[in-house]
Every structure is written in C-alpha cells, then in structure tokens.
Symmetry: D2
Subunit: 136 residues, 4 copies
Amino acid sequence: MAPHIHRVSVYYEDTDFSGLVYHANYLKYFERAREHLLGREALVRLWRDDGLGFVVYRADIQYREGARFGDELEIRTVASLKSEFRAVFDQSVWRADGKRAMVEAEIHLVCVDKDNKLVRLPSRVIEYARRAAEEA
Amino acid sequence: MAPHIHRVSVYYEDTDFSGLVYHANYLKYFERAREHLLGREALVRLWRDDGLGFVVYRADIQYREGARFGDELEIRTVASLKSEFRAVFDQSVWRADGKRAMVEAEIHLVCVDKDNKLVRLPSRVIEYARRAAEEA
Amino acid sequence: MAPHIHRVSVYYEDTDFSGLVYHANYLKYFERAREHLLGREALVRLWRDDGLGFVVYRADIQYREGARFGDELEIRTVASLKSEFRAVFDQSVWRADGKRAMVEAEIHLVCVDKDNKLVRLPSRVIEYARRAAEEA
Amino acid sequence: MAPHIHRVSVYYEDTDFSGLVYHANYLKYFERAREHLLGREALVRLWRDDGLGFVVYRADIQYREGARFGDELEIRTVASLKSEFRAVFDQSVWRADGKRAMVEAEIHLVCVDKDNKLVRLPSRVIEYARRAAEEA
C-alpha cells in the first residue's frame, strides 16, 4: 500500500533563529498528516459523540536534515497495528524531489475516553491498519 | 499602582529565522502575564467549578523593536475596567535595562460560559481593576 | 479586486483547553495568507539575495467568534498601501458558509534590512497594492 | 549527581482541546531546560562568536500521563556523553509531588557550524557531561 501523503509548507512560524524548522514542529506536521489519514470529520464525531480521543503514547524521532523557510514538504505515513489498543504510524518528511527522508519517526497512538481510560481503537482504524498491512 | 511584572526568557522556540521573536509569540507572553496577575489557581477553579473562562475580545499591538534569542524580558501589565463585562490590560515588553517598551498592546478580555455566552466578570477581577484604577 | 483567499484547517495544535483556537494562532493564519499573497519564493529570494524581510509593525485584531477543532477556514486578505514604506493588510477569518467574519484584523507591515533598518517596500509589493486599490 | 531541575507552568497556550498539554510541547519544555543547563549566555556567544549551534539529532519520548492547565511542572535532566560529537540528555516531566514521571525522553544533541557541518561538542559541554557521569 502506498504511503499516505500530506503536504505542508514551511512558514515563518515553523522556523527558529538557526534558520531551520524548530525540532518540535515536525511532531505537528506528523499529527496533521495523521488527522487527514484518520479522517478529520471522523475524529470530530468520535470526540463529540463518543467522548473518545487519540493520544500519542510514544514517539521516536530521527532528525537527519533540517527543512528551511519556503520548503514544500511531503509527510509520508504508513499505518499498522501493534494490538487492538495501539496503532503505529511510520512517518517521514521529504522534499518532493528528495532522495532520502529528512526526518523519520515512529509514533504510537492509543485511544482514551474522557476519564483518560484506555479503550479499544475504533473498528475503522483497526480495519484500515489491517488492510494497509495486507497490501504492504 | 505599579504595573504587574512577569519575567519571560526568549528561547529557541520563540524566534523565527529572522533571528527575532515571532510576532504572534508576544501574545503568548502577554497571556502568561495575565494568568499570573489574575491568579492561575483562581482561573483553574473558575473553569472547573463555574464553567467560566476568559476570552480575548480585542488586541491592538504596536511592535517597535524585536526581542532576540537569549533576552530576558519583563512583561508589564496594568489592568483597568471598561465595564463590568470587559477588562482592559495595557501590556508592554521591556528589556530589564530598556529605555522604552519594545512592544505595546491593549488587550480586552471578556468572560464567557461553556455555551460561549457573555457573563459578568468575576467580582474579584472587577475589584482588582477598580482598586488599580484608584491607586493609579 | 476580490480578496485573496487562503484556506487553513484547524488542527489539534491550534486549539487550547477551552475547545477554541488559541487567540495568538490567528496571527499565524494571517501570516501564512500574506506569505502566499506576496509569493513564498519571492520572499525567500528577497531574504537570501537582498537580506530584506517583512516585519509586522502593528496588528489590530477583533475576535468575534472562536473557530473549533475540525473547522475549515478561509483567510480573506485585501492589501493596500499606507506609504512606500508601509503596507496594510485587511484580513479576516471565515467559515466557508459563514455570514460574517469570525476574526478581523488590520496588519501593518514594513520592510527591514539585516541591520533592522527600515527600507522602501519592494516595487512589486507597491505595484500589487496600488493595482489592488485601483480595482477596489 | 542530582538532576538539573527546571520549572515550567502550564499555560493556555500549552494545552489543546483535549484539556491536556499538546504532545509536541513537551519537546519545548525539554529544550528550555537544556538551554538553562548549558547556559543561555554561553549558547548565545557560541552562536554569535563561533557560528555554532546545537541540533537535536534524535528524540525518543514516552508519554505516560498528560499534564493539565494550571500544573506546575519540574523538568528533570541528566546529561551524559555518547561521544565527543554527541551528548545525551535523559529528561523527564514531574509534578512537584508526583510519584512517577509523566513523560520521559532521551534526547541526543550534536553541534553544527553555519554550513550545518558536524563539529566536536564545545569542551565545556564535554567536561560537564563527564563530571556528571563520574558523580552519578
């Protein structure tokens, strides 16, 4: 299965005085990509109707090359399932014409209710990740 | 009444590639200062117990000089009352040894309930601002 | 001249615990829109080749209605010229089907060199703003 | 050697609509703590005089419990040396009266020059980390 692609522009707000994107901001890019992959409307309904939300449980990030102001980046995401309670997202940052990933991350997500109790992932997420794994 | 002073350090995260503090971040500094002035625990209780929160209604900001990485800044705040529904905060950014404000702002706050309906300001805020005005 | 339109999605990162977009983040939306209006590549070249950058000199913001997680917003921008040294951007935030602006702002920009000295706005910006004014 | 302690307040800006601190913001807390540990003035001089800056090379983060608006947190940091080119910071987030870390991270830093070339860590960082290791 081809990775999910989300495009982001690097704006003033994303950089710091070193001239490169501030390291924490890649986590924002990854999160925006996951929102689109999971479906933004579905996430809103899940929260509003069922009181459920996704929470980052673990994030392992490797920084290889810094992005710069004006860059147009691709966030590539492949989802898989660790268990029915944990989804794993392999995510990376690329320039459109890049030969290797600038930043690579493995992000683990769990689902919690309003009392912050762990719950089973929504079935559509489980099915999506299973299908992704089969097609890989 | 002497202005309320809140100190902030300029970190990597605050700057952009121009080398100066990103212009939106001064609104964060002002908001941190107002939280301390209004009392952080009181704000938590107001939200948790009464479902009330402060909302910025208007912000007029003049930028004169940009702060830099490593700067230690003073946020000076004077509160006053526009009406029982609106508090006005005159806020400015200074270097400790500065001769004039680097950034100046007038920030108007209102109080809303969970349905986003306007409510009267909490009495302690009204009293604080009245006392501040008398002593000015 | 029709306003310039830039679309933004409201992500987790944009909201605060009140459930609405954090007030400083609208300044980010406005700045992203201005970058697209002025041309992102032109901004990069201006900085890299001429050492010139745009700086916000003044921002007056009116907050009327808060945007929420999941909202898809339109940032509408109309540019004009105060002088050859100052451009003014009337910017507002709309839901696509909205009847009135949620947030409205007047943002003044100046252009500075690497020593933070004021310089004349680039001619293409002056021409753009003049043309916009004529067609208005 | 006792861990270095840096205190941070959780403000509106740090939270998202889930009511908890947005996951990327812990990286900001960790970075503020490292700036204080390494010495903010020394960092400014290193950049201004020698054109050198620290860059995050790797970050592995475990999220166990989310911090809330109003929390006063301790960021605890222990530094060590992987090589003369890489420093490792074990960092964690605690409530003052907490029994276990809310978030734990291992952050690897390298030092680069203005052309983004890897350089040896400054000697004072190497010495600090060696001394920390001996006293541990």
